[in-house]
Symmetry: C2
Subunit: 408 residues, 2 copies
């Protein structure tokens, strides 16, 4: 058995193919490249039983990942995050089979570590020495940290409003960090220029083909955790949308292997914020690509992406799975964040909270049926977003006593 069954890269729009032995970015036509595997060969020799004795991290699926030599794996133990039955909040929403995939339990406290682990490992394998990327915070933090382990130099550009903790992570890892007084699109332009000026590898979302392979492991894990049965609905907070595209790709690969049924895929739901909903708008208008969103703003900063390079892939995945796109208000998601913490003890990130709010809305609308198995993705730890919670606690002196209020 090979460590990886990776075959080649193919364009998501035209017919062109590329080698996985060379550094590649976008296709000549400007579209993202995707990774193909030797599925027929793999199907012969690979079964779910092979996974049983493996470690509980995303490298358990190494045959379906692009890194060809085990010694190039850069890892901090990422993956196989819990899939938790959310009984109380599910009951409250009238979705008794509500599950949360908790990506807070991963290095750097964000699902971005999946993309970084696989992306940086492959970059190392291909001899990349210096890379650059724009970020809304968490991806930059994750890539900085994995680059540190790999010995790859990283230049990160993030909006000044990105979660402050992510600056600290980049700095701790030794990245070269710039803040931009603007949005992630502005950061992207600055990175694009630096890539040209200094011949850096461009690790922007979908401008290198391997980040998506890391993200797809969320889909592999959800299928494995349900015993190779897929749920009915998966809700994903959508900014660049790589996770959603990745989950869709993972499920198609599992179908190709014959590990899940051929006739059912979960309905994929792209969840966006009211203040930045380009995918939802395109979906509602029946378009296959999205227009840039003007004056994007939301407390769920990770999904504050005005224009996604993979918009057409997101819209296609939703369409092919009979899914949908939905927007939620900041008010609704913050209320849900509080409700999930106090009902389930799970302190989720605002982007994760948005998927709960969306599930509630889709159940009320009847789009989600009561008996359906629904998975929401919490893409990061709430502790990275201290500003979502206001504290009002009394301060006692050492010899004071607690006096319980008699009237509540």
């Amino acid at each position: 058995m090979s460590f990886s069954y990776v075959s080649h890269l193919y364009c998501s729009k035209c017919e062109k193919t590329y080698s996985v032995q060379e550094q590649n970015q976008l296709c000549e036509c400007g579209a993202p490249l995707l990774v193909a595997y030797k599925m027929d060969e793999l199907k012969e020799s690979f079964t779910p039983q092979d996974l049983l004795a493996r470690k509980a991290d995303l490298w358990r699926y190494h045959e379906l990942l692009p890194v060809q030599a085990a010694e190039n794996v850069v890892t901090l133990g990422e993956g196989m995050t819990p899939l938790l039955h959310m009984k109380t909040i599910g009951q409250d929403m009238n979705i008794p089979h509500l599950y949360m995939k908790d990506e807070g339990l991963i290095p750097s406290g964000s699902f971005k570590s999946r993309g970084a682990a696989v992306g940086v490992s492959k970059a190392k394998e291909l001899g990349v020495k210096e890379l650059a990327m724009p970020t809304n915070g968490n991806a930059g933090a994750a890539w900085s940290l994995y680059c540190a382990q790999a010995g790859v130099t990283s230049t990160i550009v993030m909006p000044i409003d990105a979660p402050e903790i992510t600056r600290k992570e980049c700095t701790a890892a030794g990245a070269t960090l710039y803040l931009v007084d603007g949005l992630i699109g502005d950061a992207g332009k600055i990175v694009g220029q630096a890539v040209k000026d200094y011949h850096l590898f461009d690790a922007s979302t979908l401008k290198e083909p391997y980040r998506i392979e890391g993200k797809k492991t969320m889909g592999l894990e959800i299928a494995e955790q349900f015993g190779w049965e897929v749920p009915d609905v998966i809700l994903y907070p959508t900014g660049g949308g790589v996770g959603l595209i990745g989950i869709y790709k993972a499920l198609q690969e599992l179908q190709a292997l014959g590990w899940i049924a051929q006739d059912k895929l979960p309905r994929l739901v792209a969840v966006q914020a009211e203040g930045c909903a380009p995918i939802v708008k395109a979906w509602e208008e029946g378009k296959s690509a999205a227009e840039p969103w003007q004056d994007a703003e939301t407390v769920a900063f990770g999904i504050n992406v005005a224009k996604a390079l993979g918009d057409f892939l997101i819209l296609d995945a939703i369409k092919q799975t009979n899914g949908c796109a939905i927007r939620v208000s900041d008010e609704a998601l913050l209320k849900e964040l509080q409700a999930v913490a106090s009902a389930e003890g799970a302190f989720v990130c605002p982007e994760g909270a948005a998927t709960f709010a969306a599930a509630r809305q889709l159940r009320e609308d009847g789009w989600i049926k009561q008996d359906e198995r629904v998975v929401v993705l919490n893409t990061g730890a709430g502790i990275k977003y201290p500003n979502t919670i206001e504290v009002d606690a009394p301060v006692l002196q050492p010899n004071e006593k607690i006096v319980k209020e008699t009237v509540k």
Copy 2:
């Protein structure tokens, strides 16, 4: 097979035993109670192979945990955290077989969730409705969150200097939070009074017997992750010391089951900060209990514990395993925190960084040998401690360019 093979509680100092069917706190003699299991019975029916198909969380060891009915388990997916080979920093320290058990990858980003998961589950099983505890921050956060899921009311008292994010977690979970203008000992006195005044269950460190059972799963996991061979040395950042006592208990239980060798235990090392080192002082003076430390202060706030109720248990565990106790300076641990992040991409907490600093020191002293397998415990995620890193990043305007300095 029963879900749990718990038998009874026994005093850590006198001969008295107690039932696991009733709410218990300390022994009548004032010493902590420990949990006993029906090891002879369990030995007959339980093998390492039984674990293979189980989920990668701490409940995989349910036979060795005190919760008797599976439906009382309160869980957020905690446990089976990564054991990572720290190649680069290990080489730098001349400890090629240096491993980090990363407790940052756990709910609430702190190993305190292990104690909370098991402690709250058992409290729920025993009908506890309201509990209270003092904390240096992380334990209070963890207990608040698990209590929220269990439907148990929690009252938390923490020093005003505790990590600010932990206040947010308590509040999000719906706990009643008080800050005290003092140290954890002051918080403990306030809780003690409130427990009397309002008939609350006292969940203070070692004042209830089950938190330690959650913590011991770190020891079970380390043994399982090394294929039921124990490492040579385990370094643990020691405040209340429950983790160290728990790891020692776990290893003794594994010996009783015959799962690990009878003739070898890892040398356990209690790591403290120079500004609060009561256990180290007692160890150096050959005493079996520690004196309260005056004017305790360290950046590693989680181990800022002037007097540990279980001091005699910690000192005994060190002695029985030929271990030691060692103090490190705040300067050394902060330097190590930065070194681990930039060399390995792991952003550890200050308490975890202290164990790296201690390992380096013990290797320099020759106490750790070059070929030994050494495990350091990183007890929490660095992202909970933003103040350990200073950021100095340039701010660009949207149309600016990155200008690389020509002189480095």
